[in-house]
């Protein structure tokens, strides 16, 4: 499903990723760990083709970084969900519209949008806050909205870049539980994190990156 073959990438003469090879299979939950600046976020950027390797190949489903055309990239991204440490919600739209945004921009019909958004908000426990604005919500709730937006389009993989980085331990656990549920339903999850307590509590295969190189590729605990 997602394959990295000998991927190397430099930026301003600094080696970010050094001949990285790994794969993530359908429905897998994988942690990506490593110190800040190790290249975790870069790996997450390579998957939706927001960045391209200098050498080696990234393959996402049937699309290869070596061959994909610029105009095809949006269609790859429609199968990928993203969540970030800073949530990246639109502050001038309410919860419903933030989630619906992901469907509107791909031209989904209005009836389908309403049905899907309400369903995912209810599942995530925010159905009652659909009219609230992001700044009226707690950090944990904002991240839940971001998750709802990421999964409303039923992606095959969810990429999470430090999703618990800005959250208190209780909210962080809640978010991870939601990610576990999403994963059980068949969506693969690749989560970059520093939160070793959570990794210990919810163990999965862990890819450890240091100075752009893979150090470990097995469950950490």
């Amino acid at each position: 499903m997602i394959q990295f073959f000998n991927v190397a990438l430099s930026f301003n003469d600094r080696l970010i990723l050094n001949h990285l090879t790994f794969q993530i299979t359908k429905g897998e939950f994988v942690y990506l760990i490593g110190p800040s600046g190790a290249g975790k976020s870069t790996i997450l950027r390579l998957i939706p083709f927001s960045a391209f390797p200098d050498s080696g190949t990234v393959i996402v489903n049937q699309f290869s970084s070596a061959k994909i055309k610029r105009r095809k990239i949006p269609y790859v991204r429609r199968g990928i969900g993203f969540i970030f440490q800073d949530f990246k919600l639109l502050p001038d739209r309410n919860v419903f519209d933030n989630v619906a945004f992901a469907l509107r921009v791909i031209g989904a019909p209005a009836a389908e949008i309403s049905k899907k958004v309400l369903r995912v908000l209810t599942e995530i426990g925010l159905g009652h806050k659909r009219n609230a604005y992001p700044l009226e919500l707690s950090g944990g709730e904002q991240q839940k909205v971001a998750i709802a937006r990421a999964v409303v389009n039923e992606p095959f993989v969810l990429l999470a870049d430090e999703p618990t980085g800005n959250l208190d331990p209780i909210s962080a656990t809640e978010i991870l539980k939601i990610l576990e549920t999403i994963n059980i339903r068949g969506t693969a999850v690749l989560m970059a994190t520093h939160n070793y307590a959570l990794i210990k509590e919810y163990p999965h295969r862990t890819i450890s990156i240091e100075n752009g190189e893979m150090k470990k590729n097995e469950p950490l605990f």
Partner: protein, 286 residues
């Protein structure tokens, strides 16, 4: 659905970035207003020039030995020539009269006889009142029998054309400079609004919006700015030209298609500037 979404996003973007919108609209208003003035000025100058050109006639002098019958034949031949709108015969006596009127001297007092030949004053058709085409007409007429000489105010016509050409170049250059300045200004303003909305663009990209889709709200915003700017400019221009016509220059001609053209051009400027800005921004990111 997606077009409706783009329309709503475009209107939302337009109303949110009020300062940027005001700057863009002002630039378009000023540009369209100046262009409108230039076009109107050019239109009226051209009309004055056309009136002057309308007075340019050819004078065909008939060989003094030609008989009345030959002159009648020549008259018919001239009238059949392509490019001739009308002819007026000037007999030798009328030529002498004209000489007296123009110089104040009687030809018979200078000479014992009238040396002035009879002539035809030929009015060319409108499309032949150009230095190149009138010369062709002249050469064709010159080839007819019993024609001695044909004269017309060629230096005057050439000078008019030279000044028209010069005027057009100056006008085109000024217009081009105004339009380029406006596009640069609007382009930069829209770049600022794009920068302010980079988050929404980033989210659109991440959830799989196509570039065309991302571009559309900004293009709609550009169209709205262009439309409002040019409507405002056309309104101001309309009242200004009306005032000029009423108070200063009653012969001022106003072509009402001008306003339609200006509005369309304003929309085009807004659209093009927006397209340029978004394209540049999207090319920088993957």
């Amino acid at each position: 659905m997606s077009l409706y979404f783009s329309l709503i996003e475009g209107i939302r973007g337009f109303s949110k970035a009020r300062l940027a919108s005001v700057i863009s609209i002002s630039s378009i208003t000023l540009t369209i207003f100046l262009l409108g003035l230039l076009v109107c000025f050019n239109l009226n100058i051209n009309m004055i020039i056309d009136n002057i050109r309308a007075k340019i006639d050819l004078e065909l002098f008939i060989n003094i030995a030609a008989t009345d019958q030959e002159i009648t034949q020549l008259h018919n031949q001239i009238n059949q020539e392509k490019g001739v709108a009308g002819t007026q015969f000037v007999s030798r006596d009328q030529a002498a009269e004209r000489y007296k009127t123009e110089t104040g001297q009687d030809i018979y007092q200078i000479l014992d006889y009238n040396p002035l030949p009879a002539s035809f004053i030929i009015t060319p058709q409108v499309e032949y009142r150009r230095s190149d085409r009138i010369e062709i007409l002249k050469n064709r007429l010159q080839a007819l029998p019993h024609v001695d000489e044909i004269i017309y105010q060629r230096p005057f016509l050439v000078a008019i054309e030279h000044y028209i050409q010069l005027g057009n170049i100056i006008m085109f250059s000024i217009s081009a400079i105004i339009v380029i300045i406006a596009i640069v200004l609007i382009h930069n303003t829209i770049r600022l609004t794009i920068h302010a909305r980079r988050n929404i663009i980033e989210i659109m990209r991440l959830v799989g919006a196509t570039e065309r889709f991302i571009r559309r709200p900004f293009l709609i915003e550009g169209i709205i700015q262009g439309l409002l700017g040019s409507l405002l400019a056309s309104g101001v221009l309309y009242y200004l030209l009306r005032a000029v016509k009423i108070f200063f220059y009653a012969r001022l001609q106003i072509d009402y298609n001008l306003y339609l053209g200006l509005i369309l051009f304003g929309i085009l400027i807004g659209l093009f500037s927006a397209w340029l800005s978004v394209r540049k921004y999207l090319l920088k990111i993957v």
